[in-house]
Symmetry: C2
Subunit: 164 residues, 2 copies
Amino acid sequence: MSHACDHHDHNHAPAPVNTAARLAEAQTLCAEAGERMTTSRLRTYELILEASAPVKAYDVIDRFHPDGAAKPPTVYRALSFLEHMGLIHRIESLNAFVACGASDHSTGSHHTAGFLLCDCCGQSVEIALPALGAVDSRAAEAGFKVKRITLEARGLCQACRQDD
Amino acid sequence: MSHACDHHDHNHAPAPVNTAARLAEAQTLCAEAGERMTTSRLRTYELILEASAPVKAYDVIDRFHPDGAAKPPTVYRALSFLEHMGLIHRIESLNAFVACGASDHSTGSHHTAGFLLCDCCGQSVEIALPALGAVDSRAAEAGFKVKRITLEARGLCQACRQDD
DNA sequence: ATCGATATGTAATATTGTAACGATCGTCAA
DNA sequence: TTGACGATCGTTACAATATTACATATCGAT
Ligand SMILES: [Zn+2]
Ligand SMILES: [Zn+2]
Ligand SMILES: [Zn+2]
Ligand SMILES: [Zn+2]
């Protein structure tokens, strides 16, 4: 995963997540939902949590085992599961995945969220999506039933603006 | 390009565009911008205009010549050009491309737009994106400089809701 | 005519994602 | 316990999407 510039460092990482705690929460969440948090799924989630930016599926595949890669279906299945559980989000404009940053997954289902994606350092920030009036009203006008919304804002994060 | 259902027909096509007129407009636009509307670019744009829904790059590649396909770089280059000119948009969640539906391309540069994308018939509707207050304010808060926004609402169009 | 910038042709390869099918695991009821 | 069933997994192969690299051609301006 390389990014747009190499003229400044990208050490402005976000506060690291407490991976162990998040993994435990995920296990609880699945148990409550009657779903099975298997080792493949947990390992996939772990690799996404550890990353400081959205992760490509093949990065997960490559890092899955200490020695040697996983098979693609193993990881793609886990990614689908985690996305359905609302634990991760797919970033369409990057073909990548990021852990959900919402504090509470107790709804059990995937919420829609927006993302600020830095083109320079690659970091992503999840933002809540309150009602998007403009979209809702335009959809209503067209008789269109919205099921889910992808909103991705590409640009430069504060750190990358400053030292550019 | 197949879609989600086969239990009702998908004959509710949008009003067809006047392809010839749009091609001519595009030529004018490029001339004014000092860009070259070459035959590859024009052919690519034509194929996208003719489609009634977002088109995959490889559909363009396959249909490019009356006999035999184009080479991928030919088409991907043309797609990049057309996107930069604001004549087409890439739909990230579909890996596909659609002609810009804005009436006026005279700004010369690509505007941001939103899309209503029917999961059933595959049709897309481009919607204007007025300021997205929620996103702008959250970006400002984070010191994030937004350069462009992808907004794609997936769901069911009116026709597909009715006969489902 | 020549030059530099832009655009194209071509082959190869990289990246991303699925289909298919049998084996295994977990759960529950007979 | 045992068998049945659905969910999950392992494995192979392949499909779909996209880019790199480099040679060639074209355009427009000296
Ligand atoms: Zn989230
Ligand atoms: Zn950044
Ligand atoms: Zn548009
Ligand atoms: Zn529809």
